[in-house]
């Protein structure tokens, strides 16, 4: 990996370099502590910051929009079925390491397997990821972050094009791809020394100690779920706390489920679109005629965590489908986000064994 350093005052220069080729989006502060991804313009670019809380809405919308048009079908007279593609070169400036892992997870779903998803691919191949390493507790890192446990942060190890880390006096830039390295031809980047790299290691070692919940204790939960050791009563306890809002799926950077719907746009013409869907909702598995194999809410909770912790871990991707961003903790009114569920399972199974 090639390393360079830049002065803090030149941070916006990198954004401008990217803007020559890409539409750049970056996290901005809202009116309070809230942050959100927004397109960078000449007007707002001075407000770009390296350190701020990770936006509540993940950047997955840039590869999997909440509503995505797929095709138009006109059927008055001769039938025409035309795919609808959106293509835009886009850079996400300031994507956090956990979210980089989220994109990597979606890559495996949509680009892996027998069938490639061409809609996803079109977004993905045009996407530049400028990752920022979280180093400031209370700002970048909040009490719900557990990337250290999910092994996705605080510094992404792969899948970024460019990685920026605040070393205090200067910013260290690492290129993860040729696309990223191309930027280094600009004079704002200066040579990094072994001392800079060493400082990076030292700082990361310190930052890892600053997490309030450094671990979510997955291992035990993964094992209990995979072995079918979690009792129906425990799932009921979790299910009773689920308000069936689907929020956890929508804010989850790894949740990929979608539904497909046709919408009339004119007489004899419909548009087919796909929309985010959630396994928390009762209609998720309901078949025509009304039969629903997963009716009860606790059964649906069971399936969600089975899929994230056992299914993905054992059979599909050899990793859990959780990146430790903590968004589900924030969104869940019933406090059954990932860390709570893992804890409930771990405690109940451990208690049972002690008996």
């Amino acid at each position: 990996m090639r390393a360079r350093i830049i002065d803090k005052k030149d941070l916006i220069e990198i954004v401008d370099l990217l803007r020559k080729e890409y539409e750049v989006v970056a996290p901005f502060y809202g009116r309070g502590r809230d942050t959100y991804f927004e397109v960078v313009t000449d007007e707002n670019k001075e407000q770009i910051q390296l350190h701020l809380p990770n936006p509540y809405h993940p950047p997955k919308k840039y590869v999997l929009p909440q509503i995505q048009r797929m095709m138009r079908m006109s059927f008055n007279g001769k039938v025409r079925i035309e795919p609808t593609y959106e293509e835009k070169k886009r850079a996400i400036f300031g994507i956090r390491s956990c979210d980089v892992a989220g994109i990597h997870h979606l890559d495996r779903i949509f680009l892996g397997g027998t069938y490639r998803d061409i809609y996803y691919e079109r977004f993905r191949k045009n996407l530049f990821l400028a990752n920022v390493v979280c180093t400031q507790p209370g700002v970048d890192i909040d009490e719900d972050c557990f990337c250290v446990c999910a092994d996705t942060g605080p510094a992404a190890a792969s899948d970024f094009d460019l990685q920026l880390m605040d070393l205090g006096d200067v910013i260290l830039a690492l290129a993860g791809t040729e696309k990223g390295e191309k930027l280094f031809s600009s004079p704002v980047f200066r040579k990094a020394t072994p001392a800079h790299i060493q400082k990076r290691q030292e700082m990361l070692r310190e930052v890892r100690k600053k997490f309030a919940s450094a671990t979510s204790w997955y291992t035990a939960a993964v094992r209990y779920i995979s072995m079918g050791k979690v009792t129906e009563e425990v799932w009921e306890e979790i299910g009773n706390r689920c308000l069936e809002c689907g929020g956890c799926s929508y804010v989850c950077p790894t949740c990929n489920c979608f539904t497909v719907t046709d919408r009339k746009i004119s007489e004899g013409e419909v548009e087919r679109a796909r929309l985010w869907d959630s396994c928390a909702l009762s209609g998720f598995t309901r078949m025509a005629g009304g039969h629903n194999p997963r009716k009860a809410v606790h059964d649906r909770r069971n399936r969600r965590f089975f899929r994230k912790l056992a299914h993905y871990n054992i059979q599909r991707e050899l990793s859990v489908a959780c990146i430790g961003c903590g968004r589900c903790v924030n969104v869940c009114h019933g406090d059954v986000g990932m860390p709570s569920v893992v804890e409930i399972i771990r405690r109940s199974c451990a208690e049972k064994q002690e008996r």
Binding site: R116, I118, V260, M287, R303, A310
Partner: protein, 282 residues
């Protein structure tokens, strides 16, 4: 399954409805072909047990099993009217256009069963997906040992593919046993559940070197498996095809997930040994 498909897998191709045949109440068979001949050619390489995604313009898309055997000339769907999209399909007339993509899923590995006895057990419209295998087996009759069909419906009026049933009953080297739960004056055959056919005098199911195909409503499924088990059949000898709500058909949308499997790409065909390892009730 190692080859990656590169084109837009979600784009259906235009099909023309050629004729419609009434089967039983709320069930019709739709004979169709693709507008483009080359689409027709590539689609016809499907395996028994695979399925397709059917788009009815203005209504939506749904998964449908493929009842024809690849050894037959025509392609068709047999569809029960259960929801809005299937109702829209039932309203279609010959000459109308719709759209199809596929075939998808693993299908029954019919060639792996060469040299074996085949037992087909179907209840109600469970015969739709098994029709493909039975016709395939009949076409390749010399490649299999004993072939038996056990089929039950609620009443004589609910028996599917009646012309074909008559043909099967008369085919040499091919046993076809029918039953109904409730008879009417026209019925002179067996009355009782499908499992009662196994007890009929003269009926003998070979347990060694046999694959049993079971397809039907959940209650029938449970009882038939119990019967087969008591006869000595092993879990891996019993195969079925599962049904789930599906949106994409290609392993991306997450809807058809049962435990560790996606029905659309890992199934829909599973043997009972695999079903028991899914990690979720079917």
């Amino acid at each position: 399954m190692s080859e990656t498909v590169l084109e837009n897998v979600y784009l259906p191709k235009t099909a023309i409805l050629e004729r419609v045949v009434d089967e039983i109440e709320d069930v019709k068979t739709f004979f169709w072909r693709f507008e483009e001949d080359q689409e027709q050619e590539s689609f016809r390489k499907f395996m028994p047990g695979q399925f397709a995604q059917v788009s009815i313009f203005g209504a939506g898309e749904f998964p449908a099993s493929l009842p024809p055997s690849p050894t037959e000339k025509e392609v068709f769907f047999t569809i029960r009217k259960v929801g809005t999209v299937t109702a829209a399909m039932h309203a279609m007339k010959p000459g109308d256009r719709f759209a199809v993509r596929g075939p998808y899923g693993n299908g029954f590995p019919m060639e792996q069963y060469f040299g074996q006895n085949l037992v087909f057990v179907a209840g109600g419209i469970g015969l739709i997906p098994l029709r493909s295998c039975i016709v395939y087996a009949l076409h390749n009759r010399e490649r299999y040992q004993k072939v038996q069909v056990f089929y039950g419906a609620r009443t004589p009026k609910d028996l599917m593919y009646v012309d074909l049933l008559k043909e099967w009953e008369q085919s040499a080297g091919f046993e076809c046993h029918l039953t109904v739960d409730r008879k009417d004056p026209s019925w002179h055959g067996n009355v009782g559940v499908v499992g009662s056919l196994f007890q009929k005098p003269g009926v003998e199911l070979p347990v060694e070197n046999t694959t049993v195909f079971v397809c039907g409503p959940p209650v029938m499924f449970r009882f038939v498996l119990k019967d087969l088990k008591s006869m000595g059949f092993q879990d891996r000898q019993m195969v079925s095809t599962l049904e789930r709500y599906m949106k994409c058909g290609v392993g991306k949308c997450g809807h058809c997930c049962i435990g560790v499997a996606y029905v659309c790409v890992d199934g829909p065909v599973f043997n009972l040994e695999q079903i028991k390892k899914l990690g979720e009730e079917i």
